[in-house]
């Protein structure tokens, strides 16, 4: 298939892909530096922290990358305000192109499970599946929880002026559990859905190329394609395949990210009984 034929349908803008890319890089850095400190009592954690310049410098990286993530979150929030279709507000928030949950997602969820069990037909997904919306808002709530507790702990002299110092004990545990949840969710569930299930194996290219194969999308998201066809926007949404060299980069990059994630996940699980909680 030559890259001149338009076989793919556009799913993400370049800016959205950059958001994802920066989120990936910063999240992996936060996960690695955070686990390096949490596991400092083990050889695995010591080795990991050595990579980041030791126990203390790992924290410096963790704080500055964390502040970078908060800035990215604020920027994304402003971007979101610009992207909202204000003319049809608030109806546009619950339309099929919106990332917000709507009643159909709940129906899709149960129908999807019924399909897993062979009871019903597969649901006809529109542009965003409920699991994609969940992933988006998981990052949203995670950013707020981790960002707030992280800032409180990063500047304890300031934060203990606005709350009692024992609040940092609480912030520490909230930060820790939320971070472990986020890492486990990404390194197990998100990676499985994006890489390992048959529909996407070996890797979902949508977030890197910005587009998905039209044929497979027609199969997975028939409601979206039908809607585009009906409004006559389908032709305009089609794009060509990326250059082979680009695709190689995307694959390598994606698999490196998976490898780092699995390294963190497996190392953390193996050493979990050797640290004092």
């Amino acid at each position: 298939m030559s890259p001149t034929t338009k076989t793919r349908i556009k799913r993400f803008t370049p800016l959205q892909r950059i958001f994802h890319l920066l989120l990936m890089l910063s999240f992996l850095t936060q996960g690695a530096t955070g686990l390096a400190r949490m596991y400092i009592e083990t050889a695995w954690g010591k080795g990991l922290s050595r990579f980041f310049g030791g126990y203390d410098f790992a924290l410096t990286i963790h704080i500055y990358v964390g502040i970078f993530m908060i800035c990215g979150f604020v920027f994304h929030f402003l971007y979101m305000l610009f992207k909202i279709n204000w003319k049809q507000f608030p109806g546009s928030l619950y339309g099929p192109d919106s990332i917000l949950f709507r009643p159909k997602d709940l129906k899709d969820f149960f129908q999807h499970i019924a399909w897993f069990l062979g009871i019903k037909k597969a649901p006809e997904f529109d542009r965003w599946g409920y699991w994609e919306k969940f992933d988006y808002f998981a990052v949203f709530w995670g950013m707020i929880i981790l960002g707030v507790t992280g800032l409180l702990m990063a500047y304890p002299l300031v934060s203990s002026r606005i709350m009692p110092g024992w609040g940092l004990n609480v912030a520490f545990w909230i930060h820790r559990i939320e971070a472990l949840l986020a890492m486990a969710h990404l390194f197990v569930i998100h990676f499985f859905i994006a890489h390992l299930r048959r529909h996407n194996f070996p890797m979902d290219q949508a977030m890197f190329q910005g587009s998905a194969k039209l044929d497979t999308t027609r199969h997975e998201r028939p409601a979206w394609i039908a809607r585009l066809k009906q409004s006559g926007d389908l032709e305009g949404a089609l794009v060509t395949e990326a250059m082979p060299a680009q695709r190689v980069i995307y694959y390598v990059f994606g698999f490196v990210a998976v490898a780092v994630g699995l390294f963190l996940l497996i190392g953390a699980l193996i050493n979990v009984s050797y640290i004092s909680w």
Partner: protein, 233 residues
Amino acid sequence: MKKMTPGRLVLVVCGILLLAGNIFLPQPVSAQEEVTTAIRRYKEYEVSTGYYEEYEAKPRHQRPFVEVPGVRRGIFPYSPTAARVRVRTRLADSHQGLKFYNRRRCEECHVQETKDIHTTRANLTCRQCHGGEPIASNEHYFSPMNPIRRHAYVCAKCHEGASASYASYVVHAPNPSLAGTLQSFPVLFYAFWIMIVIAVGTFALFLPHTVLWGIRELFIKKEKTDREPDDKD
């Protein structure tokens, strides 16, 4: 009988008023202050807070056989003097009288206190915060660990600018999952369990969901298309 002069009448009335006031009116304001002299009141205050006082002054000597009614520690009545002798959290030397103390290590008794971040990660020794012998009890009036000066005398050695609020960080934090933490640090207990419920709930929902999904996709029948032989749909 002499005739009652107006001056004498005023004196008699004032005397009667003074006597009546002394009997029926409350004590003068000075008697309502928080004082260490009135034995009963001081001990009630002490029992109710668990702290001696927030003032720097050491309370004056107490009478050893005056008890707080209904409050005992073991077989002993509770009194400030008894506390000074027997309750370790009030002693100037909190390890006073322990046998073979000079041959023992802190962690032999204080096991839980060795499992916090200050100890395991920052590698602080006990004495770096608690000081040399004799180690005064945290609540002893002149202890550096007393909450009224802990931030300045202990925390600020490393955390410059530490405030009293800052020093309320629980260094030897309890294990948040244990039921005992519900008593000693309820906010931590509830925050921990709420977060655990969120995390476990997410996985209880999405882990089976993802596994079933992965299995189910293996059984999709390939539709015959004339586009590409390896198309997955």
